[in-house]
């Protein structure tokens, strides 16, 4: 018996309704997905059953987790943030510019930290050997890049609009187009890996990975905004996406939180 989109839709709706009820009963907003979100089937055997043990960092400001690994100019090259220039030829697809700020929960910029991205090409194919989606590879596009945030916490990438692609969560499962982000903050506790989506993608309601964020406002924060001011004349369309990191840091503690 194969799993259909309708089956997954029902599970997504049930999890969403359960969250709305918890909220109505006074439970806190959930900004992150629950790891046991079973509409995403790969999570079934890969989530802990025991609740996490809370570490109150204010009790021990010396914790190594309150500090971040450091990254510098030698960890990137000048064109690492321009994914259209990593091969001899031009990649196929629509060029885009993705830019925004890296912030902590107090709204302060996170400076000099590493942002890594990876994505499918314009046809929806990853440059990964295990990827078997029958769409063409692009010899001029790998789809991996990195950058350091500047003094105002800003980052900027030039890349190609990724395509949506099928996967095997259920029959006719398709991922909305997205770019994977891996981000370091002011502390190791703020480590984040996530995915950025593009506005108005018709696949959003069908995707159990995006819908694993059951809070409506939180889910919107994964979707970039088209920003004409970031579009480069005769070259690329611009998208703005700010990233806000959760979790305490050493500076956080010093300021009395």
């Amino acid at each position: 018996m194969s799993l259909t989109q309708q089956d997954i839709d029902r599970e997504i709706a049930a999890r969403h309704a359960a969250y709305e009820k918890r909220l109505a009963d006074g439970a806190p907003v959930e900004h992150h997905p629950r790891r046991d979100y079973t509409p995403y089937r790969s999570s079934v055997l890969r989530h802990p059953v025991q609740p996490p043990v809370a570490i109150d960092s204010a009790q021990d400001p010396e914790l190594v987790e309150l500090y971040s690994p450091a990254f510098g100019e030698r960890d990137i090259t000048e064109i690492d943030n321009d994914l259209t220039r990593h091969h001899r030829g031009e990649p196929v697809g629509e060029r885009i510019t993705v830019s925004g700020r890296l912030l902590d929960r107090a709204g302060r910029p996170v400076r000099g930290q590493l942002i890594e991205i990876w994505q499918a090409n314009s046809a929806g194919r990853y440059a990964h050997r295990r990827e078997q989606h029958d769409a063409p590879l692009d010899p001029n596009f790998t789809g991996a890049g990195r950058t350091l945030t500047d003094a105002e916490g800003r980052y900027r990438f030039t890349t190609i609009q990724p395509g949506p692609y099928p996967w095997r969560n259920h029959v006719n499962a398709w991922r909305p187009a997205h770019i994977h982000f891996s981000v370091f903050g002011a502390a190791f506790t703020q480590r984040l890996v996530t995915q950025m989506y593009f506005p108005n993608d018709p696949l959003f309601p069908y995707d159990p990975i995006l819908q694993s964020v059951t809070d409506d406002a939180a889910r919107q924060r994964l979707i970039a905004t088209y920003d004409h001011g970031l579009s480069v004349p005769e070259f690329s369309l611009g998208y703005h996406w700010d990233i806000v990191l959760d979790g305490p840091s050493a500076t956080w503690t010093e300021e009395g939180r």
Binding site: P48, D80, F188, I223
Partner: protein, 200 residues
Amino acid sequence: MTKTDTSGPEQVPPTPSHTVGPFYGYALPFRGGEDIAPLGHRDTITVHGYVLDGAGEPLPDALVELWGPRPDGTVPQVDGSLRRDPATGGHLGRNGVEFTGWGRSQTDADGHWYARTLRPGVRGRGAPYLSVCVFARGLLMHLFTRIYLPGDEAALAADPLLVRVGDRRDTLIAGDEGEGAYRFDIRLQGEGETVFLEYR
């Protein structure tokens, strides 16, 4: 709503986490990611183990990051973990001299990961440990845990976290294999489930 208003006095809401997915392998792992210790350093230890799911099956697509202090307990603020080569666009690897304290290891087809790093020194109120962050396909948000090393039983017995977790403490203490090698399996679910942490 992806331009963040930072003008107000309130906290800004965070960007939600998502899974790392199955295809990070050409983007995140890097040459020398597992070899954190400077070459020939006398405090070098090897930590290694398997990442296992709720059925006890190893994960061939998990990513383990380690972060720890120097043997004297100080925190390195040294870049150069993933030095890049501007000529080829590839990775140069570490320089084998400086200690950045941070590394990244992906599990192999057997679900096995390893890292060579420096024995962490004591900081703050607890026994020394390495901080661990685990990512995997199927894991919607990364998991933090810690690797404590066996040996100083008095320090382990007094560690605030190890005391709190009671009989689950053994999931946080690596097995001593001798010659500076330690075994640390990460069980995501089920019997012997590793203690995972949430920082507040």
